[in-house]
């Protein structure tokens, strides 16, 4: 127990060292480059504080998170719902597959443009695109999880005459949950990326739009500031959602 705690502390030390190394490398890179190309850590942090003080950061963050969450919930609901049917019926799966593959294979910016023409600019478009691109992830994971409650396992259950209630509780629901968790932990991080991508072109506010404007106005330190904020956001999401979910389902994974 104590050794593992000491190990943990040691690892944390190296983690901090890693961060310091990145900062040092960044600073060196900034010295060697034009400030229009690489903003220094100092100016980046300053721009973050400025954005915090002016409310620009919080406002855009809230707008983006709201869209992300709405899109995520919609995509997860629709994807899981369709996934359950696709998982139970091979024929339905075959009907859905081409559409799912088409969505996955198409460069997502095309959906943004189409959605923009249909819904105009703003939240509707962004939420639509987020939900649309999250849906296949959830579909595939939940359909797969049901399909992977394989015939072998079902045969075993038949031999041992497992009562229907236990069958649902111990086999079908956990099986679905397994795929759901796997899909969900993937979706949470992707949805942020998708939302921001959709905002780049098709919104008048939010982080994506702020990045688009900073880019257009050559505000490099702001651009770096947003990039840093995104890195932090993803790290927070990983720590709060992704890692616990992965640990949870990791126990089952072969």
């Amino acid at each position: 127990m104590t050794t593992s705690i000491i190990q943990e502390i040691n690892l944390r030390r190296y983690y901090i060292l890693g961060i310091l190394l990145i900062l040092a490398g960044w600073q060196v890179l900034a010295w060697a480059s034009h400030p229009l190309i690489v903003a220094s850590p100092g100016s980046t942090f300053k721009s973050i504080f400025d954005m915090l003080a002016s409310g620009e950061l919080t406002d855009n963050l809230m707008v983006t998170l709201k869209r992300q969450l709405t899109g995520l919930v919609l995509g997860v609901l629709v994807g899981t719902f369709l996934g359950i049917f696709g998982g139970l019926r091979k024929s339905l799966d075959s009907i859905f597959q081409p559409g799912i593959n088409a969505i996955l294979a198409t460069p997502s910016v095309i959906f943004v443009v189409i959605a923009m023409v249909r819904f105009g600019q703003g939240s509707t478009q962004v939420i639509f695109v987020t939900a649309l691109l999250i849906m296949p992830i959830m579909y595939l994971n939940s359909a797969k999880s049901i399909q992977s409650i394989d015939s072998n396992l079902l045969q075993m259950i038949q031999v041992y005459r497992l009562p229907p209630r236990i069958k649902l509780l111990k086999v079908y629901l956990p099986g679905l949950l397994y795929g759901f968790m796997a899909g969900f932990s993937l979706s949470v991080a992707s949805s942020l990326r998708i939302t921001i991508m959709a905002e780049l072109l098709g919104a008048q506010n939010g982080i994506g739009h702020a990045i688009f404007v900073a880019r257009g106005y050559l505000e490099t330190s702001k651009l770096f500031g947003w990039a840093l904020i995104l890195v932090l956001l993803v790290m927070i999401i990983e720590a709060l959602v992704f890692n616990p979910l992965q640990r949870f389902i990791g126990k089952w994974q072969e």
Binding site: I37, V117, L201, G202, Y217
Partner: protein, 337 residues
Amino acid sequence: MKRNIKKTLATVLIMVLAIGLSGCAQTPADKTPDKLPEVKISASQGAGSYPLAPLVEKNALQNVADKTTLESWVTSEQLTAMITSNQVHFIMGPVTNAIMLYNKGADVKLANVAVWGMMYILSADDSVTTLADLKGQEIAVTGGSNGYHGTLIRHILIQNGIDPDKDLTILNMDMAESSSKLATGDIKLALSNEPNSSVAIANAAKGNVTVKRAIDLQVEWGKATGSPARIPQAGIIIVGENAKNTALVNEVLKQFNASAEWINENPAAAGPVVEKYFPKMKANAVENSLPFARLEPVSSPQCKDELNAFLTEYLKTAPPASIGGKMPDDNFYYSGN
């Protein structure tokens, strides 16, 4: 790692040599400067770049450089990278980009304004002919409503009593995308440059869709602001120390003017030459676009007042950040000495 150190050393050596050499070249004032082995020009896709093609074709800069090479740039990141790393001598590009870069500390100067507005609202809908007709419509604009083009439209609309945020929708879509969407009928209106407008019109015609230049943005700008129907849009940007080589810059300006004049007088002959150096700008489109391109180069000191007047007007709607925070000072303009 080792290779990188070598590279850095080599770069440092070259820089020391370069500084030493440029120092040598400057000392004797009466001596003609050494001829450059090569002049590099990077140009955007637009009418301002037309004159560069015959200029290179005829090797018109032979008095100041052994050869001239031409390349294209597309994104603003490329533009920034080229300038901050001194990869080229000259750039043909939007004036507002040059101002922004200048105000952000990049070493650039404006040599001339070559194009005085080539922006048109293309329409697949015959009924759209005036600004008022835009109400309730969707219009695709590259860079969206807060970009350069979007701000111009918004300013004009506001002057005409139309609320650009409520009365219509401005979609952020690049010109290639909006041109194809015009042809397929997905959108009805788009703001476009030359020669992209000619290309879009020709492409739409192939699919039996009639697209027209419905509204001349320059004319509307003039009406709305009480100024001539001109917008200083694109020009030659001098990168870094090259501005000190007046012989070079003056020769470039002289030959550029001559080339522009020839193109305006010989649109049919100019088309193929331009296409040779800029394969995306097709000969036909180039020829057809010339009457709409306002390719009338004016060298830097002479265009300063008009540019300042334009910026003053532009900033009534645009945030200062859109030109890098302030009006460019006199140093921005190449003065020839």
